[in-house]
Structure formats: C-alpha cells, structure tokens
C-alpha cells in the first residue's frame, strides 16, 4: 500500500499548502500547517512498513514537536490578539517596511 499512502499523503500536503496560501485567519493557517505535518506523518508510517521501525519513531518526534509548536504558536496568537484585537494576517504587518 506504499504507493496509495504516498498518494493520499501528497494530496493532503497540497491541500494544506493551498489552505496556507488562500486564508488570512492566523489560526486556520496554523491548522493548515498541522495538516501538512499529518500528511508527512502518513508518508513516514508508510515507509516504516517497508524500511523498518525508524519511520514510526520519527512520527513520534514529529508529534512531540507539533505539540510544542501548537502551545507556543497559540500563545503567540493570543498575545497578538491582545495587542491588535484581530488575528487577520493582513492587519498584522509590523515588520512591513
């Protein structure tokens, strides 16, 4: 089932990319990034079946990093919202020259 898994993985990853490009809501963009991480996890699991257990260990670490990233990222979004009263990325342009 390696080819089928990679197919689904690729489609999910691209849906995540398109979501990041077409939305402005910071939280939805963040969730799209999580979807991309999940797509990569699926590829890792599919490869683990063919190449050994290391793929599953990698997924384990990806999930840990995703959990840490969600905690920090959402804290940043909360701080931004306190500051700007919005999570619309077009209004958050402090670094724009």
């Amino acid at each position: 089932m390696l080819a089928e898994s990679l197919f689904f993985s690729a489609v999910l990853f691209v849906i995540g990319v398109v979501g990041v490009l077409t939305r402005r809501n910071a939280i939805i963009i963040f969730m799209c990034v999580e979807l991309m991480l999940n797509a990569v996890n699926l590829a890792f699991i599919a490869f683990a079946q063919v190449h050994g257990i290391a793929g599953q260990v990698f997924v384990f670490f990806v999930m840990t990093v995703a959990a840490a990233e969600a905690a920090v990222g959402l804290a940043i979004i909360i701080a931004l919202f306190r500051h700007k009263q919005t999570v619309n990325l077009d209004n958050i342009n402090l670094l724009k020259g």
């Binding site: 689904f8 990853f13 260990v57 920090v72 909360i78």
Partner: protein
Amino acid sequence: MPQGDLPLFYTFHFYLFGIIAVVSALLFVTRRSPVAAALWLVNTMFCLAALYVLLDAHFIGAIQVLVYAGAIMVVFLFVIMLLNLGHPSEVADQRGLGWKVTAGFVGLALLAEIFTLTRVRIPDRLALPPGTMADEVARGGAIAPLARSLFTEHLLAFELTSILLLTAIVGAVVLARRNSDAG
C-alpha cells in the same frame, strides 16, 4: 497488514478512510467558521489514525487520536473560543481571486513534483522483506518494537525532546501572560 493479494476488505477500508480524510481536509480549508474548520480537521486526523492502524502502526494510531485529535485540536478549539473568532470580520478571511489562482498553480506544481518523486523505484535491497512489520507486531506487540528503537538508537533525541517540551511550556506561559502583571 495481510500478505500476498490484499483482501478486499483491507483495500476497501484503506481507500474509504483515505478518501474520507481527503474530503474532510477539503471541507476544512473551505469552511468559513474556524470552529467548523477545526472539527473537519479532527475528522481528517481520525481517518489518518485509521490509516496508521491499517499500516501496522497501531501505537502511533492510538497516539494520533490522543495527542492530535485529543490534545492539540482541543487547544486550537479552546483558543478559537477564548478569542471569540466567530464574528464576520474574522470569518471572511478568504483571499482574493489572484491568490487563489496562484495557490492553485503552486498546488498543481507541488502535486506534479511529488507524484514524480513517488514513481521512483526503491531498490529492493533497501526494503525489508514484505510482512516484516506485521511479523514484528505479531511477535512483540504493537509497542515493544517501537520502544526498543526509541530507547536505544534514538535515546539522545528522546531526552532532548524533554528539553524542547519544557522550553515550550515556559515559552507559552511567558507569551500568553498579560503584560500588566509582568515583573
């Protein structure tokens, strides 16, 4: 995973969960309301957990439900509801047509690229004999092979993960704290 010719129920469920995952992901990126989007994403993650189980990664499937669908998505929903993002100015966040066309082209290019990559044949000497993973699960259970690899070959990375998590906890608390009670 069963060996040889795959039984129909296996292939059927694999495609079923795969297609549900893709459809939920599409609904997820097209919903206007962040709460609806988050719930569709939870659905995608459940289907991915089912796919992991079908691919002999039972423990990772369980962890997927517990950590991703359980913990991470609950934090997302919690923040959406805490910030009360349901009002119209936040909900109407789709970008204009130009961005959508660009995104479509980027998506198609990425898909083409990934499909080209997946057509590459993996040399047989790099691959385990078919059924190795199923045998290991049958012999050592779903957790033991993973644990053996995690606590021997990847022990350093595992320990570093604890530092990462500690940093993330402290960082999240510092960032989300109100400025008025700082110092």
